[in-house]
Subunit: 248 residues, 2 copies
């Protein structure tokens, strides 16, 4: 699967460990994003540890563009987000990843390139870098325990991009491909049970019989039964009805 | 920050590496979730590597409840989600993490305990475990590169729980007011049927017996059974088992 042409570019700013860069690539590609840029990686580039970690997402690293500064990395972008946990005294709009990717979707579709900055693992982005962003993205984490690592930030942002992408529905995906029983088949199943249970004296006492039957009939139609289920339920009843010597 | 009283319980099923258990705890606590259960961890419990990795989220591990099986771990729950990438031939509703956590929010608020199962790192959940869930949660990942690890699955699910803040949406109107059976009650019903059907020779031929049992078990958890339904289904079976002379 090739990534979409219209997608935000994820920019890793001064990333430290190669493994984290590789993990970020994996996180992106899990959700179909493949536009990565890297600014002044601590251990140079390319980085074999990044490649080893990226594994099947290695193409992202091969195609990643390298820059010396944030300013150069986002030069062609119309809108830049900076992910950071701490606002650090800068006056800058702060949005959630959800809102950020909503905005990103609209801008990308309108031909306005979008970038998302992710800072180095320990210190995060510097104020001078955040200043170059148009908005801050802040993940709504537990204030008492905010410990997302680089790949996790990338993952959540990429997930939000995909979730709101319009392709993947977030509606209930019903059991696709199942061969659902038709109403007439449910009716026959219900009749089979009612007949046998009647003969077995299940609907007792007489004044409760009708409501018991209705309750049971209601249950059958409340289940989402496939044709295989219906066959099995018929079979269960037949088996139980047969006289069995083995301690039935 | 203490976790909310009303939240889903995350169940790690047969987790392998201690570091991953610790990472899962961190992922949960990032979003204020602190109810963890662990089923048959490969390396026993407690696990110092889990503790070391969890670090500031260590309380989750200290308070985690240990179980020998999935059935026991979810006994008190009214609704169980199973996270898995592959449906593996079981007929089961599949929802996104977003939809799952919408449903979870509504159920938790209504006093119906919810559990989310996460399988072992390599193989994922077994069919017999998925069969005990009411729905599958599938993260909408790139089909050509689906490589989320345990902590990342936990992270995305926890993130979705927090993002939707427990607000109740106006989606599917659940059958309000119903007294839903708990998983332990479904387990007993399933065991009752399996026992009687086994004795009646229903699971035949021998090489198909196991898959027939898993299919039937899967059906029970696919139905939305109230406690009244469970009583009725027990009653049906008892009635059928009784020898009846009237041409049963």
């Amino acid at each position: 699967m090739q990534g979409d042409g219209i997608q935000p570019t994820f920019v890793l700013v001064r990333p430290q460990m190669g493994e984290n860069i590789g993990a970020a690539a994996r996180a992106m590609w899990n959700f179909g994003l493949d536009r990565m840029r890297i600014v002044a990686p601590r251990d140079g580039w390319p980085n074999p540890k990044a490649g080893a970690m990226a594994s099947g997402a290695g193409r992202l690293l091969d195609e990643a563009q390298l820059f010396d500064s944030v300013a150069e990395a986002v030069g062609d972008c119309a809108f830049v987000f900076a992910t950071t946990a701490r606002a650090r005294g800068l006056t800058k709009p702060v949005v959630s990843p959800e809102r950020a990717m909503q905005m990103a979707a609209r801008k990308c579709a309108a031909g306005e390139p979008v970038a998302v900055l992710f800072g180095p693992e320990r210190a995060g982005l510097e104020n001078a870098e955040i200043a170059r962003a148009n908005a801050i993205v802040s993940v709504p984490v537990n204030p008492g325990f905010a410990s997302l690592n680089l790949a996790q930030c990338v993952l959540l942002t990429a997930y939000e991009w995909r979730r709101q992408g319009g392709e993947i529905t977030h509606e209930t995906v019903e059991m696709a491909g199942a061969d659902w029983a038709r109403a007439i088949e449910i009716e026959k199943l219900a009749a089979h049970y009612e007949e046998r249970l009647e003969a077995a004296g299940f609907f007792f006492p007489a004044d409760k019989a009708e409501s018991m039957k209705v309750n049971l009939r209601n249950l059958w139609s409340r289940m989402a039964l496939t044709r295989a289920d219906v066959r099995m339920l018929h079979g269960i009843l037949r088996q139980m009805v047969r006289r069995n010597e083995r301690g039935g």
